[in-house]
Symmetry: C2
Subunit: 234 residues, 2 copies
Amino acid sequence: MPRVLHDLACIDDRRPSPYCWRSKYALAHKGLEFEARPTGFGDIPRLHGGGHKTVPILDDDGRVVPDSWAIADYLDHTYPDRPPLFAGPNERALCRFTEAWLFGALAPLLVPMLALDIHDHARPEDRAYYRESREQRLGRSLEAAAAGREERLEAVRAALNPLRLTLTVQGQRFISGEHPGYADYIAAGFLMWAASVTTLPLLERDDPVVAWFERVRDLHGGLGRSAPMYAIAV
Amino acid sequence: MPRVLHDLACIDDRRPSPYCWRSKYALAHKGLEFEARPTGFGDIPRLHGGGHKTVPILDDDGRVVPDSWAIADYLDHTYPDRPPLFAGPNERALCRFTEAWLFGALAPLLVPMLALDIHDHARPEDRAYYRESREQRLGRSLEAAAAGREERLEAVRAALNPLRLTLTVQGQRFISGEHPGYADYIAAGFLMWAASVTTLPLLERDDPVVAWFERVRDLHGGLGRSAPMYAIAV
């Protein structure tokens, strides 16, 4: 039985889920082959007996593991002879802090800006549900949330300052240091979510964040180029 | 010869340097006794043959190590039988990212808000230099930089969201996980800098960040209570 990662898919075979991206990178980091099987929102309740609401779900030769953090822990536990995702509990905790930075500082800006683009890239049968649930959460229409979003680009770019300083003043090639690690997969996966759907380029071409993003996309045989994305920079 | 950390001191024996705080915590984390010797700005050029512009400077029985990162690396290298500050290069790199988050997201807000308070707590002989150099950097008077700073509290609190999410949604006791680590010392040391001088309480009393800050202050025999600070919360 092959190793399968159920991977959220939109139209045009775009793969927007930041959680799926980090799990694909986790598998590649450990040198484990897998199929990233396209999964629509509506497919999820039918997977592995139902009861799951989100992907990624890993099916590792019959062992079913949902949730990106559980998948990472499962991989380190099950394949201890492969390169570790976490050298110890502190690295894991600091990777969670990296995730909290993205969801605390970037997501509040980007989610309203991109919600309409996400809708427009969802499979047709998913759009009504997506619009209704997100408009309720945002408290306004997707169109209203996106209006004037160009004026919010400066704030998005400023919110990336911590990553930018890590790459410039601190001179690191990756968030994890000289070599890429799970923190990079979390952060790049988050930008891959944006790049999968954004019809507005978010960054400036000469931004060191862009060079880092392209470095991560190149890793593991160009994994980050295995699905279509828009240009992240103008 | 005793182990001495040259530690920036202001009036009232306040110890504002975030870099000194993390080095004091690093020494305590490794269980190494030391004297945190009070040092004025003007004392620094006279230390250890001159040539140093900043503290901390560690004098470990005659081995002189300047710079907080060099001190951390020196301690892990010299005392490998003691608890490590960095379990490996990835943890060190992620601690640098934590620092970049503070300096990229918090410092731009807090430095103008606190510059006048810092001035007022500097030793009298240091104030003229401090005012001139900081007003040049800020492009305005210290008083102008601080004006209306109450209105900027909301942005300061929002900028702490990544730490707050780590403690709440992610359920970690410390940034480094179940146990405190160097990332906590960096972040708490940064807030100790603020608390050493701020005459305006910055956070709300029930903020989980405050509970974490007080937890870190309690560590290592109450190290974070060994110098006077203002209340960080109203």
